[in-house]
């Protein structure tokens, strides 16, 4: 096996993108260096393997950091979509509560139902608050979103207790949505590492 072919095999330890971008240039450089080397073959190969080993580790670290950033960016987009959905559901809940409140004023609803409607309206407003905070995306807004989501969840649970015949869909949205958003908000994610040329 020729030295150049062995070096091409050694290049396989680098990430594929780096290899496809610089593999040819590195092989050319290796060929020149091998031809003009001033040490014996063993010392030369030791230096080549050492160079490949420590530079490949550094390249792989760069790849993993880039993947971490990409993962974080994807999560941020998901959180923006979740924020929009929370605002829409909150508006729907608040409008629905308003409509039921109008019905209550006509005297067609019982007192327990009126309490549940008021709680549902409050939960809707809290979901709008949480959704708006998620859309802002700042650390303080995330804190606001967490508080609003927990409050919304507690209010819906109280409404469920005072109004046991709450529909399955209302329960699913009212309890499931804040829970899902809280999990997504506090799911561990990669940190943004800044890189330098060094």
């Amino acid at each position: 096996m020729s030295a150049e072919r062995m070096y091409r095999l050694l290049l396989r330890i680098y990430p594929a993108d780096f290899r496809s971008e610089y593999g040819r240039e590195m092989t050319l450089l290796f060929r020149d260096e091998y031809r003009t080397r001033d040490t014996n073959a063993i010392a030369f190969w030791v230096s080549m393997v050492w160079d490949a080993a420590h530079s490949a580790i550094s390249m792989w670290v760069d790849v993993w950091l880039a993947r971490g950033k990409e993962y974080t960016r994807t999560l941020e987009i998901i959180m923006k979509l979740a924020g929009t959905l929370a605002v829409l559901v909150g508006v729907f809940g608040a409008v629905n509560a308003l409509a039921e409140a109008v019905a209550a004023m006509r005297g067609t609803l019982g007192s327990a139902h009126i309490v549940a409607v008021a709680l549902g309206g409050a939960a809707g407003v809290l979901l709008i608050t949480a959704g708006t905070a998620l859309l802002r995306g700042t650390p303080s807004a995330r804190y606001t979103a967490t508080i609003a989501l927990i409050a919304s969840l507690v209010i819906i649970l109280i409404a469920r207790l005072t109004h046991p015949w709450m529909s399955s869909l209302s329960q699913l949205i009212g309890i499931g949505m804040p829970l899902a958003l809280l999990v997504a908000l506090h799911w561990p994610r990669g940190h943004d590492h800044s890189t330098s040329a060094a």
């Binding site: 680098y14 780096f18 971008e21 610089y22 240039e25 590195m26 050319l28 450089l29 290796f30 020149d32 260096e33 230096s47 080549m48 050492w50 160079d51 490949a52 420590h54 530079s55 490949a56 550094s58 390249m59 760069d62 890189t195 330098s196 040329a197 060094a198």
Partner: protein
């Protein structure tokens, strides 16, 4: 064809440079060079004390390209090295500012070492 590169932040944000990276910038300070020419220039200037292998060299060049410190020049053959076309690299204006800032930083450190009498007043 030279690729348009983006700069990453301010020149100061690139500092301090790794020793091998600064050696590469010094090699490119005279004009554009291909990888082997950079490697030879570093070895000869440091009298063999610093040797930059292919992985270290292209790893550093990749980062320097991404941060806009270095850009690719034309791809052409080097008559002294045969018929293979080689990529040439050169410093950008941003890269020149980074290299100057790093040189000043190192110079300040050497002056401080002289004041503390760690080294003599004449260059070592």
């Amino acid at each position: 064809m030279a690729k348009k590169q983006r700069t990453a932040g301010t020149p100061e944000s690139q500092l301090p440079l790794a020793p091998a990276t600064f050696q590469i910038l010094l090699a490119l300070a005279d004009g554009e060079r291909h990888g082997y020419a950079i490697m030879k220039e570093v070895t000869s200037r440091t009298k063999g004390a610093v040797r930059v292998g292919p992985g270290t060299l292209y790893g550093a060049l990749k980062r320097l390209l991404e941060s806009g410190v270095v850009e690719e020049g034309s791809e052409r053959t080097d008559p002294e090295l045969g018929d293979d076309r080689r990529r040439y690299y050169r410093l950008t204006k941003f890269g020149l500012r980074v290299a100057r800032l790093e040189a000043r930083r190192l110079d300040a450190m050497v002056r401080a070492a002289r004041q503390k009498k760690l080294i003599g007043t004449a260059p070592a």
